[in-house]
Every structure is written in structure tokens, then in C-alpha cells.
């Protein structure tokens, strides 16, 4: 029986395993050094905040794996010996495979800051990071202040987490406005204000110079690059993005760039070795997508795709229209299609913001053809299916604005804003015409 070995028990690896099981009788082994069972990484924050227990982050009950004959092995793979189709473990063990899927995900970026390896400095990615945070920031008497470095999605989640336990947070963001490489100016500015409304000390345009240690090798404070200001703190969160977790493959002969280089079939340069999820890097970017996509659902889709290929139905990874979502403290964000933080030369954007400063929306369309290109929405839920359809049908922006109501996904009885949005849009069009 063919033995499929998957390194990594995240969403990508587990999805691949589930689909291979659905389609075949192959022997499947999933290896992880992080946890015994698959859990939802995106939910770690809720464990610290007390919304859930860790067991709630596990989408399948523990009997699921036995029942579906998916073997789970805890261990850290230190190298891949592809000549002998063998994995070498840190413990000295070995494991043979017929086909190997690498789904090792990401690790937090560290940019060589002085003091970045002190006690009390951590990312927020692995379960071990959560345990660390629990150790160094259990409450606001042990942790009098925390400093977060890096204004992305993980940074703001970490800020929300610490805030939930009443720990004062200083949030250093390199950019002039929160996440402005991705969000258009109006949206980014609204989120800045929302962060401050939560009493988080947001410092825009500030970089970390160094982290200062106390006499026990523990964090005592940080120094800000721009001002030289010293901020006393007990915890430093490094959340300046993530990069593929592939260091263990450096000697393996598998072609690496920033991640593991794969073609559209998710094959590496070595036969029978595949890479999926955050650790995979496409030779060429697909559409406007990045070559490395560290997103939950792309990991899942790559898992589905590679399972097809391994079970004899070789197909390409073809992600559909871009979409994503996040939540910034109390404000939900969804995006469908492409809306760029710095508009492209062909792109025109229409921005609407509600006076309560917690809801806004940006619609992007082609300047000349008026084709609808994408939408960002804050505080208003939209229907994925409808936008997927409109993008496929290449609807123009006027159609989309007139039919926006069909896409609304807010709970029943919610106040709707489509009429206001449409009239604002119409008058903005008159002005520009």
C-alpha cells in the first residue's frame, strides 16, 4: 500500500489527508512537532481571551483520526533524504514514504533586532507562543505593559488579546497608517481611530531599535528608532509578518526560494514530493496573488488540489477570485476581488464611510471600462457567492452598486445602508463627470 506522509498538521496538511482518504485506501501519516491534534491556528487568540478552551479550537474530535485511518505522529523532522525516500527526525528515528507532502506553514519574522531572543519576546503563531504569552503575560500585575512590533493582522489580534486582560499595550507600526500597504487610506484611518478608541497606544511610523534586557535575560523595555524613547515593558510581541517554515530543508536538495518552489501542480523539483499551504512558493504568481500566500483558505484549497493529484487525477492549483476576511477588534472586514491600498493606474475607487466611524466600504473599478474589480467592506457583511458571481460575469460598477442589497449578509433586522451608499456613489459620479 502506498504510504503518503504529510509533514504538518495544519489546515493544508489535514485537508490533503482527508481528501486522500475520501478517494483512496492509501496509508496516511501526518507528522507534527507542535500538537497531537489538528487545531485552528486562527483561534488561538480566543483561548487567551477566555472565549474558548483549547479543545474548542480542534475541529475534529479525537476519535476522528483513528476512524479515518489517518496516523498521527508527533516528532520534529530534521531533514528529508529524497534519494532513499526517507525522513530523518531530530530524535534519530526515520520514516519511509512513497509520496511526501510538505505543509509546514510559516514562522514569525525576526529582523535581527538586538534582544529579539530574550525571555518575554515572542511571536503569535504557534501553540507554544500562546503558552509563552500565558507565562509572561497572565495578567496586568505580572505584565505591566506589552509592546507589539508590526502592524499587520497578527499584531492587531495580539493587541486585542492583551487588551482583554487589561494589559496596557503600545503598538509600534512602521507604516504611516495601520496596514496601509493593503488598505486604502480611508479604511486604514478609520481602523487607526478604532484602535485608539480601545485605549491601545498606537504609534504610527515608528520602528523598533532594540529590546533591552534585565539582569536575568528577560525583557525590560524597548527603544524606539525614530525618537530614542525607551518604553518599559515585560513582553514584546514580534508580529512583523511571517515567512515559510523551511529551514530544515536547506540541505535536502529540494529547491527553495523564500519558500519551497512548486509548479502549478504543487510539485517540487523532486518527484513524489509536494508542498502546499504557507510554505509553498509558486514559480510565478497566479494573477494578482502573491507567490506565497499565507492565508487559511488557500492552504485548504491546495490541500484539496494535491489530494486529487496524488489520487491519480492530476490537476492544477487554480484559485478563483481573491477574497479574504479579518476582524480588527470589533470591526469585521471582508474583501472580494482586488482593491489596492495604493490604487493602480487603471483603478478608480469609491469610498463611503458611515458617520459612526465603524462602517465603511471601498469599491474599486476600472477607470475606462467601469468593470467592477473588487470591494472592501468594514462592519457590513457581504455574500461571497454573489461577489464571486459578479466578478466572473465581469459586471460593471454601476450594476454592482445598484444591486448591492442582494449581496448583503448582515443578520436580519439590521439597518441597511445600500440606499445611502448608492446615492453617495451617484452624486460622486456626477461630480467627476
Amino acid at each position: 500500500m502506498e504510504h503518503i506522509v504529510i509533514i504538518g498538521n495544519g489546515i493544508s496538511g489535514v485537508t490533503a489527508a482527508r481528501h486522500i482518504r475520501k478517494m483512496s485506501d492509501k496509508k496516511i501519516t501526518i507528522i507534527s512537532a507542535e500538537t497531537d491534534f489538528f487545531f485552528s491556528r486562527t483561534a488561538l487568540m480566543y483561548v487567551y481571551m477566555g472565549h474558548m478552551k483549547f479543545e474548542h479550537t480542534q475541529p475534529y474530535e479525537n476519535w476522528f483520526w483513528d476512524k479515518n485511518r489517518i496516523e498521527l505522529k508527533k516528532g520534529y523532522v530534521s531533514n528529508v533524504d529524497h534519494q532513499n525516500n526517507q525522513l530523518l527526525f531530530k530524535s534519530g528515528e526515520t520514516l519511509s514514504y512513497d509520496k511526501l507532502i510538505i505543509a509546514t506553514g510559516s514562522k514569525p519574522n525576526k529582523f535581527g533586532w538586538p534582544g529579539q531572543d530574550l525571555d518575554g519576546v515572542m511571536g503569535m503563531y504557534h501553540k507554544q507562543d500562546l503558552e509563552n504569552l500565558e507565562k509572561y503575560a497572565p495578567n496586568n500585575s505580572v505584565c505591566k505593559r506589552a509592546v507589539i512590533v508590526g502592524g499587520g493582522l497578527i499584531g492587531i489580534e495580539l493587541a486585542e488579546m492583551l487588551n482583554s486582560r487589561g494589559i496596557p499595550v503600545t503598538f509600534l507600526v512602521r507604516e504611516k497608517s495601520f496596514w496601509d500597504a493593503v488598505l486604502p487610506a480611508g479604511e486604514s484611518a478609520m481602523i487607526n481611530r478604532h484602535i485608539k478608541n480601545h485605549h491601545i497606544d498606537l504609534r504610527l511610523g515608528m520602528n523598533l531599535k532594540e529590546i533591552i534586557s534585565d539582569e536575568h535575560g528577560k525583557v525590560k523595555g524597548v527603544v524606539i528608532q525614530e525618537t530614542g524613547e525607551v518604553i518599559d515593558c515585560n513582553v514584546v510581541g514580534l508580529t512583523a509578518g511571517v515567512s515559510p517554515n523551511v529551514d530544515f530543508l536547506k540541505e535536502s536538495g529540494i529547491e527553495l526560494g523564500r519558500g519551497i518552489k512548486v509548479n502549478r501542480h504543487l510539485e517540487t523539483n523532486i518527484p513524489n514530493i509536494y508542498a502546499i499551504g504557507d510554505c509553498a512558493e509558486q514559480h510565478e504568481a497566479i494573477g494578482n496573488r502573491r507567490p506565497i500566500e499565507a492565508v487559511w483558505y488557500t492552504g485548504r484549497m491546495m490541500g484539496e488540489t494535491v489530494a486529487q493529484t496524488i489520487c491519480g487525477n492530476k490537476i492544477e492549483y487554480k484559485p478563483g477570485h481573491w477574497f479574504n476576511s479579518a476582524k480588527f477588534l470589533d470591526i469585521e472586514y471582508q474583501t472580494y476581488g482586488w482593491v489596492f491600498g495604493k490604487p493602480k493606474e487603471y483603478e478608480e475607487q469609491f469610498h463611503w464611510k458611515h458617520e459612526d466611524d465603524t462602517k465603511c466600504l471601498t469599491v474599486s473599478y476600472h477607470k475606462d471600462t467601469r468593470e467592477f474589480l473588487g470591494l472592501n467592506t468594514f462592519g457590513i457583511r457581504m455574500r461571497h457567492e454573489v461577489f464571486d458571481k459578479w466578478l466572473t460575469e465581469k459586471r460593471d460598477v454601476d450594476y454592482v452598486m445598484q444591486h448591492l442589497e442582494e449581496a448583503n449578509f448582515d443578520p436580519e433586522f439590521y439597518k441597511t445602508y445600500e440606499t445611502t451608499i448608492l446615492s453617495t456613489f451617484t452624486s460622486s459620479q456626477l461630480k467627476t463627470a
Partner: protein
Amino acid sequence: MSNKLNHSMSLASPDTKGISTKQKIALATGLIGLFILVLALLNTNFPNQGVFLTLSLILISIGTIIYANDAYLTKLEGIKNDGVWFKSISSRGIIGWLTGVVLTAFYIVLYFYPELLGQGTNGEANTGLIGLFDPLSQLLSGRPASQWFVYGTLYTIAIIVFGYKFILKYRHNRYQQLRTVSVMFFQLGFAFLIPEFMYVMNSDLPYYDLKNMWPLNYYNFDQYRIDSFINNETVGLGLLIFGILSIFVISPFLTYKYGKRWYCSWVCGCGGLAETAGDSFRQLSSKKMSAWKLERWLIHTVLVFSVVMTTAVIHTYLGYDPNKYWLTKDLFLLLVAGFLVLVFASVLFFKGKELGKDAKYGAIGFFVVILSLVGMHFTGTTTEVFFLKAGGLRSAYGLYIGSIFSGVIGTGFYPILGNRAWCRFGCPMAAILGFQQRLFSKFRITTNGGQCISCGNCSTYCEMGIDVRSYAQKGENIVRSSCVGCGVCSAVCPRGVLKLENDGLDGRINSTEILLGNDVDLMDFVNKK
């Protein structure tokens, strides 16, 4: 620095944040109010009962209101679940267990030993706690209080003050607010005030909470009630007809339009208490597959029991007086059997395929009922069925289901089993509405394409123990008979994935294996079985 070593084990229970000074004062206020009730229970003779009762109820209400204001109005609008699993009361900690024990004890006394609460027997005056409520009862209906009046009053106050708290907690969510106002209204008006006024207008009528329907009020067709309905001519007959219409016409129609939520989380009193006072315990329901299996057997067994019991009770008294009841025993049994055959046959015909294995279990329940009916025909006398006293069957149901299951376990165990244990495992009404919801309702919870990140907030906060995430992460709509449509899964979802809605019947159940987001070809491949 705290002297407690707070290492990784603290993942499950780190330090809780504590409460503010204002909340401490609020707690003290409420507890003083509660203490007056305890003193009354211990037979303290209050000089002016009316004043002390008012004082007690006002202190309890004010305490809760101030507490809620400080908990929610001091923060921005949004989801307020911080620390739920760190607090003793909401995570089966010491306070949770103690609360469970006290509530359970209260229910046992309430149902089985009302004299301990001060219920006067043999025409004696009430004393103790029940005596304290006499002035209010006299005011409303001109008669002394009973244990049920005390219970009803406290129940109504709980729904109103905790409903207020719930509205503040979800002040960004109009669905939650409207639904809560609705249960507050139905409890205060329909369950509490109207029956009292009905008594004032016509004291011969039995207590009738108009929103309660059979089989939730399993006693509705007992002989004493039917007799008094009939004796009261127009009004009584009107009530009787309304009771029957509720079951066969009104509730199926509303469930078809809106799902069973129209009743379970907008109208029902049990649901009302669960959604308001029980809100802090919703995360305690078990999401295990084994719990789901137990649920399905238990709730349908109770349903079969209640159908057989009610039929048996009616069957026995129908023989008494042929002039009074035009319906004869055998005709009645035939009608019941005919109705059940009709329901079962049409379900099999229209939905047999969809139900698969469940149809077999349904058939078992169906044949148990039919066999019981045959048994009744051959063994039934004016007092007995199956050689047992029908009254005995009725008392057994009242004791085990009506009192112990719905009251003692259903509510007493809130802090242990979650706030909907009765609704989920026992309520025969929920079983019937759930059956309708699963088979022919426009209601579903729609999943938003591929946006789910499997975080598990929805499943954690589902009071009915539905593993919502298992559907959402597959992009599948949630159509489950147990769903009461409280809407909290949709509220707590951080990615806007879930929406409760009523729409056409086509495509309501969409068990695809793949989510939106992939290229269309891949979706075709994976969905091919």
C-alpha cells in the same frame, strides 16, 4: 508580582480580571434583596409583607441592572465573551457547581415539598416565602399566593432583568434585541399577567398560558381541564379549539415560514429563561457526536411517551359520559392512528430518500405508538390501559418528564449541562417543531462561501450543542432539527460567515464537499462522489 506560578498549565484557567467597585455595590444590592427572600423562607415575620416583598424584588432588579450597565455600557459595542472560560460561574467552577446545587434543591422543594416554602395546606394561611408573596397575588387576582405564583413571579423577573442585561450585551445586534424583547413580552403578558386576569374574570377556567401548547403543556387535555373548558361554553370552547389549532395549524404554518425559532427563542417561556438568565451557560452544552446521538434518542422517546400518555388519558375519560363527549373511545383511537399513518406515509413518500437511515428510526417510534393504540383498544377500560391506571401513566409522565426532566434537570443543571438541556434532550414540543423544521421549513443558517476559518466560536456558543463549524467549514448550510435560531453563532462569528434566513425550499440543504473560492473545475471533481 503575584506569588502564583502561572506557567503553561494556566491555559485553562488564568487569573480572572475581577469586578469593578460599581459591580461590587450592585452585587451587594442584589444579594440583600435575595437575603430578604431567604429570611422569609426561614419564617421571619415581616411586619409589612407588601413593603418587604417590593423592596426585595426591586433590590434584586436594580442590582442586576447596575451590574449589567457597568459590564457593558463602559465598553465599545461588540462581542463580550472575554474571560467566559476563566470565570467560575460560567466554566463549571466552584461557583457554577454551587449554583447548580442550589437551583436543583430549589426545584425539588418547589415541585415536591411546597410546604417547606410555606404553602398553606388544608385551607391554612400561607407562611414563609409563599406568604411573603400573598400581597402581590391578592393585588393581581384576589387570592393568596401559591408555590406556582411565587415561581412565576421570580421567573418573570429573571427573564426581564437578565433580558435587559442580554440586550446591553448585544447592543450592536438588532436580531438579538428584538428576540429578547419578544420573550420578555410573552413571559410578562402571556405567562404571568393574562392568566391572573383571566382568573379574575372567570375563576372556573383552568390556568391557561395561551402561548403554551401541547405537548409542552402535557396536561392540557386532562379531564378536569376539558370538563371546565366545556362547562365554560363559548370562552372555554374557544380556548379548547385554540389549543387544538395551535398544534395542528398555527405552529406548523409558522415553523414553515420562519423555522422553529418563532417559538423556541421568541415566544417560549422555557426558551425565554434559557436565553436570558441562562445566557452565561450556553457554552457548556456538549458538542460531542455522542451527545448528539443521545439527544436524538432521548427527545424522540419523550415525544412517543407524551403521545401515548395523552392518548391514553383522553381515551379513558371518553367512555364516562356519552352525552357529554360525542367522541367515542374507538373513534378517537382511530383518529389518532389515522393521523399518524398520514403523517408517517407522507414523510416517507416525500422525504424518505433524504432521511435515509433516520427513516428507520422514525418507523420504530411510529410502530411503538401504533402498537400502543392497539393495546389501548384491547385493554382499555374507563380507568385503565395496558392493565395500568391511565392516571398512573399520566402521573409518571408529570413526575419524570414534567417535573424532574424539565424543571429539576432542565433548569437546575444550567451551570453544568448548559442552558438548553431540557429543550435539547427532553422537550416533546421541540421535537415536533424540529421535525417540521427539518422537513418543510424555509429556515436555514446560510454559510458564506469559503470565508470560514474553522475557529470554533460558533460551535462553542451554540446552546443546542450543534457543531456549527463542521457545516460552516464545508460551506454547507445548517439545517438541523434542534436549531432554535437564537442567532448567537452568527453574532460571534468573527468573519461574517453565518446568516439565519428564510428562503425557498430548493437548495436549502446543500451538502457540497468543497467551498467557494476554488476554480470551478476542481469543485466539479471533488463533488463527484
